[in-house]
Point group: C2
Chain length 366, copies 2
């Protein structure tokens, strides 16, 4: 069991990473001076699988428990579902003693965090991430939000949880595809910040795909530490430090959107986005072909696509142009200067981007 | 023209109070480094009345302007309207240069502030309050929110504006009843914090009701200063300092709710709530009958009810029990220790509250 502190003054909190630690959740909450009533936001299958052990642990530490089940789809990240949840929460919460537990992946974490941020102008919440992607990335750092017709995460807040509780044993519920998607974010951390982690991933990839506890716990804790360090220096992405986390995401989001969020899941799109960013980095002479090939090999071994299929380069560039990260008329790219190092480049010409994207397109003859 | 600074570190801002200052709004915004695109949330009648002069001032200082009209009812403070507004805002905002102007009273200010707080995890907004109540109170301090079926302001955030711009000339659009409602909040500030202001109100009440610029500007600026001082010491109502602002509101909200938000408007209910709080204060020996009579006389001269009609005391107490300010099982009352002084009392027995409420009920024979 590892405890990683995320330091943010009065909003500081711990990230707990371990294997089979769920029965101890109630004990960890004791230090936090929360209310007596836990409101657990989750979905049907997660409730069936983990609900009893989470609820038992909470009840043993003297809490009341209520579950709120939301659909297991991206549609749960909407104002409509948020409204339903908040009304239900209000009927449960009579005496201002309620706190929220997000038991789920990125969708549930983002929704629950948003609900916690706006209900009565903010109540405490705990992240209990059940996907690798959430344990490594989305449960940490306080970015919460729901989607609008006009775009993803257009509504939200920066609102930090009081605890992130990552039991890697929960990851056994994941499909292989979901594990691969999570590994994409782990690879991202390695490429932007941690050469040693990159080597570790290369050596332990099959163990990770098999969900072996030791390497899994190591990787989740390492990524959590890297994210915690970045967030504590730049909570609101205002100083350009948190920006490095967007490596692979700028074009990744565009690839996701261009595929209408069906062709690729987030992790897969980020993998492709990282490769496109590597292509740009090579084209600009920031890093060499060798680094690109190493990243490509690792992404491929993680079970992720390395070539874009069925989406046109021009559509990707058009989606990129409408991304909310596109500040003013200038784009902003996190590029690689070799594994473990990054450079932020502004106002990249669209031709450069287009050329890089074209290089990642599956050629018809392959 | 008066400039009142509200000091909150990086979130500090100015409150500008003056008469006929709207044509200068664009100039004031220049210092704030806002984007080029103003998104003005207002209602149809306010747009017709003040829209042209606000828009002209902004255009002269080189901004683009888009109006968004919402219904002139409390229903605009809903998740449904917030969603509609945010989707519309997203279609206007392409290049992350948009900021919001709330041109209206409390409903529009609360809605616009909430939208600003959650859109893309927070964009800047400006309060241009058009009601006396908003100029004196609700536009200042960053409490934003929308209502749910289960209760008012259940969804919201603490999110500070970048400027509060109070042109008392705009108050000419108000009905007499709306002016009276605003005066209730002014009386509240005087009772809790400022004996001199109380005397000023006693001397200048007819001038205020006639909307004479001089006393109006004085009172708005004075109340704004008092609120600014309180908010800068306790932004999130976490230290018990901001709590004094709830004087008259604890039972006021209950009276509003007991009357199903139709019998009394907010200011009227606060007036009655203050009188009930004064009754409790007298009953507990914190202040004397004389202070109660002075407050009662002033409230009456302001055109506000001083007796509760058509709502039963037991229903008021029941509504009070369900108020979101009711922490744990203990209530929290701001009581008066004579004009200008307060005391916060916890866990008041319900009989004491009931007796005070009964004293303010209109007796059938009167």
């Amino acid at each position: 069991l590892k405890t990683i502190p995320l330091r943010l003054g009065l909003r500081s909190y711990d990230i707990i990473v371990g294997y089979g630690i769920t029965p101890g959740l109630g004990r960890f909450l004791k230090r936090l001076k929360l209310g007596s009533d836990a409101y657990i936001i989750t979905n049907t299958s997660l409730k069936a699988r983990f609900g009893p052990s989470v609820a038992n642990s909470l009840k043993k530490s003297g809490r009341n428990v209520r579950f709120k089940v939301v659909p297991d789809t991206e549609e749960s990240k909407s104002m409509a579902v948020a409204s339903l949840v908040i009304n239900d929460l209000a009927s449960y919460d009579r005496l201002k003693r309620v706190f929220i537990i997000a038991l789920g992946g990125g969708v549930i974490g983002d929704l629950a965090g948003f609900v916690a941020s706006v209900y009565k102008r903010g109540i405490p919440y705990i992240q209990v991430p059940t996907s690798l992607l959430a344990q490594i990335d989305s449960a940490i750092g306080g970015k919460t939000g729901v989607d609008l017709e006009k775009g993803k995460n257009l509504v939200g807040a920066f609102y930090q949880p009081r605890l992130v509780f990552a039991d890697v044993k929960l990851l056994k519920s994941l499909s292989r595809r979901q594990v691969s998607a999570g590994l994409a974010e782990a690879i991202k951390y390695a490429v932007i910040k941690d050469k040693q982690l990159f080597s570790f991933l290369e050596k332990n990839l099959s163990g990770l795909l098999a969900l072996n506890p030791k390497p899994l716990e190591f990787v989740v804790a390492r990524c959590a530490s890297l994210k915690a360090a970045i967030v504590s220096k730049d909570e609101r992405e205002a100083r350009g430090i948190r920006t490095v986390l967007n490596f692979g995401h700028t074009l990744g989001h565009a690839i996701e959107a261009a595929g209408r969020f069906k062709a690729y899941n987030h992790g897969e799109a980020v993998g492709l986005g990282m490769l496109a960013a590597m292509e740009i980095s090579v084209a600009l002479g920031l890093t060499d072909e060798g680094a690109l090939r190493r990243v490509e090999a690792l992404i491929q071994r993680a079970g992720l696509p390395v070539r874009i299929k069925g989406v046109s380069p021009s559509r990707i560039v058009a989606c990129h142009y409408h991304d909310k990260k596109f500040v003013g008329k200038r784009n902003l790219f996190v590029l690689s200067c070799g594994i473990g190092k990054t450079k932020i480049v502004k106002s990249l010409p669209l031709e450069v981007i287009l050329r890089a994207v074209r290089k990642r397109i599956q050629s018809p003859t392959l």
